[in-house]
Symmetry: C2
Subunit: 389 residues, 2 copies
């Protein structure tokens, strides 16, 4: 019989319930669901009906202290991820943090520092898109140097359509105090992680955001950011929730080629037969007529490959859960180490901060305290939730 | 016999010679080439051989004062466009200015003010792409409100590939003192005009530019700019000369639809059956499941039209020449009034200025004097040409 990880879901809203269902349906072969936790008594009643043989907790500390579970996932409001993760890690319970790792860099840095001190405990994050074969293949193409050094990245990801009716479903949704932002915190963390996972962490960012653009919400749902990688390479990141005709187009351009991803399922890779630097050196020009090296025409210098995958956006959670379990049980390489969760949070924070200040901000030396101070000003102005520290 | 406009070409380099050739070949039915002008004696000798029956001048003032011509085109270095145009207008000679209208807003404003005082003289500009049926159709779709109010524009236009060998052909090319910049002044003025012609003039811009990115030139050849239209709408404009795999993709997104132009020859228009605001109001949401108004599925709310045109990029000059002549002779509506040339120059200047200052700058209240001061600093540092005033 297979060894299985004794697992609990902390927070049984939509996402937590989905994970519980996947495990119970046997979709995660190396996991066994042994307990669930929610602070809401009506939810607990339903859970008790649905899972009569599982232990149901109201307090995550009791669950972790119970000795019943080896690992948990934190499907709770974003702000609480670090607190619960640290409690579990401190007790030797492995943690799969739901994304984002937290809301502001200060708390995520504390979590990362704490996790680093407890390296015997596995701390991972639910970046399910890292398990998407399409993005894995793109990452490998870039890592293997097939398109050379990156000169520009460009992602328009405005397929996160959310109407007012979506925002009106819950009091906490799209608030500074309970979510800590809008599209950057709730919908786009996948892409904020992927772009950095594939193309590296930018040095600075300048951004414009609009709060409640065409929506009755106090947080940002329209974002345009310029990334600066510090080596001449730049990037643009655009996201929004008001575009029902949403665009999803990622372009990564390098010395030796270009990758274009449309709708997260069609990839065009253009590879140059040698680097643009070498081609440039070999060109003879007459006006705007160019003779290219090796007597080639432009099209002869380019090899184009197109591949498509089934759109797996929103899926892939099973793979991350199974990988997490097999890492703990069988020491398989971990796909999404939790400490990398800081990248997406920091980029989201930096985009906020830049737009609030109206100036470019450093990602490399991000001002965690200033960000938290300005976030708390917004929470105070909102008047619904307590400030953070 | 048709009435013809007596026309002269001032400046007979590559572009000027092309126009002379077009007229002589009968491609511009309402124009007659009567004179040519160049300061270079060897060029004049060749012109005399090629056009034995035309009058050849070395000084544009003598040409204009000769009484031989009704109109001229200014195919001379960019900085000289305003000076020559004003001289001609002052003498009652119609002017078709080569683009850009000038290099810095201060001189173009002077030219515009002067031209406005002489409205009996036609002052036009060679925005040949305004005569491109593809962009005319897109302008009409936007003007007619078919995609509603614009929410975002996005143009990646990096097909302006120029190798070092191109830049090395002439001393003046890609210098601050003789050209006044790089890709923004020489290659991208078409797009800088078109985006404003179609989508309006932004209120502010923030930009990053790189000078001599992968090229041995002192001016910008890599540009990323965020446009702010002042009403919540934003835009991104990206151009570069080092991308041999260049992308040309324009997206205009509005309340009622989206236009996507690929490679300046394929257009996809998506029209919503009613505005996004109205759709948003009618949605019922359960989690991230949305019931749309009128029981429609998303695809049922969208009508998609795709059309292609033959790529006419770089052509269309004949049409502008003929339109200019017919406007003067027969009072036909003028396609590209000269005073609109300020828009492209100002946006290019504003992108420069923003990148030099590292901050967002106003287009509405553009600081002409500050721009000229900082441009002159660059001309002085370059040490090859005199400063401007």
């Amino acid at each position: 019989m297979n060894k299985k990880l004794k697992f609990a879901v902390v927070g049984c809203g939509t996402q937590g319930s989905t994970y519980a269902g996947l495990i119970e349906a046997g979709k995660i072969p190396s996991m066994e669901l042994v307990a669930l936790c929610d602070i809401d008594s009506s939810k607990r009643e339903k859970l008790a009906e649905l899972y009569p043989d599982k232990k149901i907790f109201s307090d995550y500390k009791e669950l972790i202290d119970s000795g019943l579970v080896e690992a948990i996932i934190t499907t709770v409001p974003h702000y609480l991820h670090p607190e619960i993760a640290m409690y579990a890690i401190g007790k030797g319970v492995h943690v799969l943090n739901e994304k984002p790792a937290g809301v502001y860099t200060k708390q995520v840095k504390e979590l990362n520092a704490f996790a680093s001190q407890h390296s015997e405990v596995t701390y991972a994050i639910m970046f399910n898109q890292r398990n998407n074969p399409l993005y894995q293949r793109i990452k490998k193409i870039v890592e293997d140097g097939e398109i050379g050094s990156i000169r520009r990245t460009n992602w328009i990801i405005t397929t996160w359509y959310r109407p007012d009716a979506y925002y009106q479903q819950s009091e906490w949704r799209a608030t500074w105090g309970a979510e800590g932002g809008g599209v950057l915190v709730n919908q786009a963390p996948h892409q904020l992680d992927l772009i950095q996972w594939i193309a590296g962490v930018p040095k600075t960012v300048y951004a414009k955001t609009s709060n409640g653009f065409m929506r009755d919400i106090p947080v940002e749902n329209e974002v345009t950011a310029i990334l600066d990688y510090g080596n001449g390479a730049t990037g643009v990141f655009i996201t929004a929730t008001h575009d029902i005709l949403g665009t999803d187009r990622l372009e990564i351009f390098g010395d030796k080629g270009k990758i274009i991803v449309e709708n997260s399922n069609k990839v065009t890779v253009k590879r140059l037969y040698k680097s643009e630097q070498e081609i440039n050196e070999g060109i003879v020009a007459t006006g705007t007529s160019f003779e290219f090296p090796d007597n080639k025409e432009v099209h002869e210098m380019i090899e184009e490959e197109v591949f498509t995958t089934e759109s797996a956006w929103g899926g892939q959670h099973e793979g991350v859960l199974e990988n997490f379990a097999r890492h703990i049980l069988f020491d398989e390489p971990l796909l999404a180490p939790g400490i990398e969760g800081i990248n997406g949070v920091r980029l989201a924070n930096a985009i906020h901060l830049s737009s609030w200040l109206g100036e470019e901000v450093s990602i490399e030396n991000f001002d965690d305290e200033l960000y938290l101070k300005l976030l708390n000003e917004r929470i105070t102005a909102e008047g619904k939730y307590s400030t953070k520290n």
